[in-house]
């Protein structure tokens, strides 16, 4: 379980997160939704400690993460898998080396075991025969999928995905959504997903937190989101013809 309590973050005069308190439970896909620029990425980076928060607390299973020293944080980070919005693959390494990297650093596995694990993770994101390619040789969506494979390589206890399926075709996007949801239940992971894709919301939204103007505006799940009478939320949810029809 991850908890953010009264978290605020600003960049200069720009108050991006305003007293956000939110809880993410294990075995569930916790979605953070909101318009572009609403602060989803900033919230996620505050949760994992890449941004220092101005006030408030972040807890990982009762451990006060936001007060930890860099070295204490590293211990918890070994239990974290994260997919960055831009993929953030190591461009000096091949696909296989990227996925193997966390295994090399933190397990005593033999090369054969590591390659087997990498192939397993890559096959789960439907990537085959790309092991020896470099990130520069991949399409945008393929990069994203390699990044997911890397994030799940170490069987993380906490999984963060910043827009896992932006830039993917609907079919692959759906595969990724299902994968995230499956492994979340299978390994009882605390999963946090940033998205503005309503398909994902309907597909895997076990718990949904809507961020608007830096505040936590609404919370619910995939069923209640379509029935809410929150005006700002509805503006976001029913922005397209398709979702209006769904209603």
């Amino acid at each position: 379980m991850i908890e953010a309590i009264n978290v605020s973050k600003s960049f200069g005069d720009n108050l991006v997160l305003d007293n956000v308190s939110v809880r993410f439970d294990p075995g569930m896909c916790n979605l953070i939704i909101g318009q572009s620029g609403s602060g989803k990425t900033v919230l996620m980076k505050c949760l994992v400690g890449l941004f220092e928060i101005d006030s408030g607390k972040v807890l990982y299973d009762e451990r006060v993460f936001s007060k930890m020293s860099f070295d204490e944080m590293r211990m918890i980070r070994q239990e974290i898998g994260m997919l960055f919005q831009g993929g953030a693959l190591f461009d000096s390494m091949t696909v296989e080396e990227n996925v193997i990297f966390p295994l090399t650093m933190f397990t005593g596995q033999t090369m054969a075991e590591k390659v087997e694990r990498a192939n397993f993770c890559l096959s789960r994101v439907r990537l085959e025969n790309v092991n020896k390619l470099f990130p520069a040789e991949l399409s945008g969506g393929m990069k994203k999928r390699v990044a997911i494979a890397r994030a799940i390589a170490l069987n993380p206890k906490y999984l963060f995905c910043d827009e896992p399926n932006s830039g993917l075709d609907p079919l692959t996007a759906n595969v990724i959504d299902k994968l995230i949801s499956e492994i979340t239940q299978e390994y009882n992971i605390t999963t946090v997903v940033n998205t503005h894709d309503m398909n994902s919301v309907i597909e895997i939204g076990d718990k949904i937190s809507y961020i608007h103007q830096g505040k936590l505006w609404w919370e619910g799940d995939k069923d209640s989101i379509l029935k809410s009478d929150n005006a700002e939320l509805n503006e976001f949810v029913f922005a397209t013809e398709l979702t209006r029809k769904l209603k």
Partner: protein
């Protein structure tokens, strides 16, 4: 201005404290040093050899032209060339060249990794990115630069020898006699101490600028320039300090 300078010095020292932590895995660390030796060292052999040979030749010819009285023996040419090369040209000038070559490479590599969130990704995996990325580069430069500088000395002296013979300004025997004359091994020690300090300055300062790049491709360029300029300035300043400490 002064505030900015102190800010950078403070942050630089804090970064260095992160850099010199125990690496996560010894075997990976060794492998990375090898890679960096290749990237930063082997890659520079050609340019160092080329520059040194030509500069040695020029030093020899200039010295020869400045000796216009028969009272000064011709072997002085060999002696002066050797002293200039060993004391100043190879350790300082070649280090400045390497600051341009190695510094821009290190700063832009780390800067690109920063702006594409690769450094964040390393941090999230639970690895200390400063140790993982910068430590092996510093070790590699500290190992490889002295070798490059020794090679530079040899090439420069050889260049001088060839120039002396081809121009007929000094005979081989006299030049060689000059090269061996009044030789003090402490000069080499002094040159090597300078080289090692400069190697550290080049990689740590340009690494610092790369590591703290903010923004995008444009800022990577800015960091790379800053890395080169600031490590060159540091080399010049430390050259004076070390010369004072070691030769007086």
């Amino acid at each position: 201005m002064i505030k900015g300078f102190l800010f950078h010095i403070g942050r630089y020292i804090l970064l260095m404290r992160q850099v010199f932590k125990k690496p996560e895995k010894q075997s990976i660390f060794i492998r990375q040093i090898m890679v960096e030796v290749d990237n930063l060292g082997v890659d520079s052999v050609g340019i160092v050899a080329f520059l040194s040979t030509f500069m040695g030749a020029v030093l020899c010819i200039q010295t020869a032209f400045n000796i216009d009285t028969p009272l000064i023996p011709l072997y002085t040419i060999g002696f002066v060339t050797r002293q200039s090369v060993v004391l100043e040209f190879s350790p300082t000038i070649i280090s400045l060249i390497l600051a341009g070559k190695v510094g821009s490479r290190v700063a832009s590599e780390l800067g690109t990794m920063r702006v594409t969130e690769q450094i964040d990704a390393i941090e999230i995996i639970g690895i200390n990115p400063a140790t993982y990325l910068i430590f092996p580069k510093i070790v590699a430069a500290v190992i490889v630069n002295p070798i490059l500088i020794l090679m530079s000395m040899i090439m420069a002296i050889l260049g001088g020898w060839m120039a002396g013979i081809f121009t007929g300004l000094v005979a081989s025997s006299e030049y060689v006699y000059g090269i061996k004359a009044f030789f003090e091994s402490y000069d080499i020690v002094y040159a090597m101490i300078k080289t090692v300090v400069f190697a550290f300055l080049i990689v740590s300062i340009s690494g610092y600028h790369g590591f703290y790049t903010k923004g995008g491709a444009f800022e990577v360029g800015t960091s790379s320039t800053k890395g080169v300029v600031h490590s060159s300035i540091a080399i010049i300043v430390f050259n004076l300090i070390l010369t004072n400490l070691l030769l007086s």
